[in-house]
């Protein structure tokens, strides 16, 4: 097509009345023909933005984006699991069993384990998984622990205090109510 034809297309382009094929042809011609471009810019200066080149982000930037999205998706999944349909009585039963296991472990060893792997092994033997063991601090053998089970909304918490009301030495287990038993 000659320049004249393209020049006649300008008003239709601005009114968005060109089909996509002619529109693409028009834009391509403006990119390659400086005379038509000049005339078109004089008529409609904002056309300069229609011809700006595309800039591609670096592959590293894209991968950084992928990583953050995947992290976001995993967090979202975790939250969804925690919000999943619950059977609070099951969770409560699990919490009580857990408390019993912890208490017996206490009696047998005389101490609350410094790390939670022992507890997890015990729990595993009893067929229970402990999704989150927040804190476990070694405490003296005596006296026996005081255990409290608390349900806060959908979460079941097991508090185990080493000595009386001293909450600074103790362990808290949060039982995920959504977990399968």
């Amino acid at each position: 097509m000659s320049c004249d034809v393209y020049r006649e297309l300008l008003p239709a382009y601005l009114d968005d009345n060109l089909d996509e094929v002619r529109r693409t042809g028009f834009r391509a011609h403006l990119k390659s023909c400086s005379e038509c471009r000049e005339l078109a810019f004089a008529e409609e200066p904002t056309l300069v933005f229609s011809l700006s080149r595309r800039r591609e982000p670096s592959p590293e930037r894209i991968e950084a984006c992928v990583a953050s999205v995947v992290a976001g998706v995993r967090q979202e999944r975790l939250q969804k699991q925690l919000r999943a349909p619950r059977r609070p009585w099951l969770a409560a039963a699990a919490a009580v069993m857990l408390a019993i296991i912890v208490a017996s472990a206490w009696w047998m060893r005389g101490t609350l384990p410094g790390d939670v792997t022992g507890l997890q092994a015990d729990a595993h033997e009893a067929g229970i998984s402990i999704p989150a063991a927040v804190e476990a601090i070694p405490v003296p053998a005596e006296p026996p622990p005081r255990v409290e089970v608390d349900m806060i909304q959908d979460e079941v918490r097991v508090y185990q205090y080493a000595i009386g009301d001293d909450a600074s030495t103790g362990a808290v287990f949060i039982v995920n109510p959504a977990m399968e038993l």
Binding site: P45, T46, S52, V69
Partner: protein
């Protein structure tokens, strides 16, 4: 693998499939969003947020839509909300402070005016005079060259509304170009509104 298959896999919980979609579309979405929010880094935040939202809503995705249209709709909405919340806070955002750009060359030096970085800078300067909807319509249609029907889907309005947004956007930007960048306008037309 085509989008629909990848989307189906992602919907079944395949994170790698979803990561593939991010690789395919994050660059393009970022380009559009950056021109709406006028900040490269914030635009990446918008893109990430859009993908996480898309993941959350994958079960509601209607496969009659192309995935990219659907994603752009989510991303554009996040971007528009961001621009609006900025405006409502009346916060002078650093991206909205005026660039003092010198454009090289006069009317005859068309190739100089197609200098990518400069044109982008001027576009940034002018776009802030537009409403979020006008920005989005102009950028998606005129700069990114999406079809009007697709832009209408993305913005959730009619094709006529998209055309009207673009018409208004051109009018506002023309006025600003004449005031700020008179070198862009031929001498015999300066002062013409």
């Amino acid at each position: 693998m085509d989008d629909r298959k990848v989307v189906r896999a992602a919907r079944d919980g395949d994170e790698d499939a979803f990561a593939d979609l991010v690789r395919r579309y994050s660059g393009g979405l970022h380009r559009s969003v950056a021109r709406i929010v006028l900040d490269e880094e914030e635009a990446w935040d918008v893109v990430q947020m859009a993908f996480v939202k898309a993941w959350q809503r994958l079960d509601k995705y209607d496969s009659r839509w192309s995935f990219s249209t659907w994603l752009y709709r989510i991303g554009t909405n996040v971007a528009i909300d961001l621009v609006r919340s900025r405006a409502s806070r009346q916060k002078a955002h650093r991206a909205e402070t005026e660039h003092r750009l010198r454009l090289v060359g006069g009317v005859d030096e068309a190739s100089a005016r197609l200098d990518h970085a400069e044109v982008d800078g001027v576009l940034r300067d002018l776009v802030r005079f537009l409403t979020p909807q006008q920005r989005a319509a102009f950028i998606l249609r005129e700069v990114d060259d999406l079809e009007t029907a697709e832009v209408a889907k993305i913005l959730g309005c009619s094709a006529a509304t998209v055309r009207n947004h673009i018409f208004q956007a051109r009018k506002i930007m023309r006025r600003e170009i004449q005031e700020r960048f008179p070198e862009f306008v031929p001498e015999d037309q300066r002062g013409r509104k």
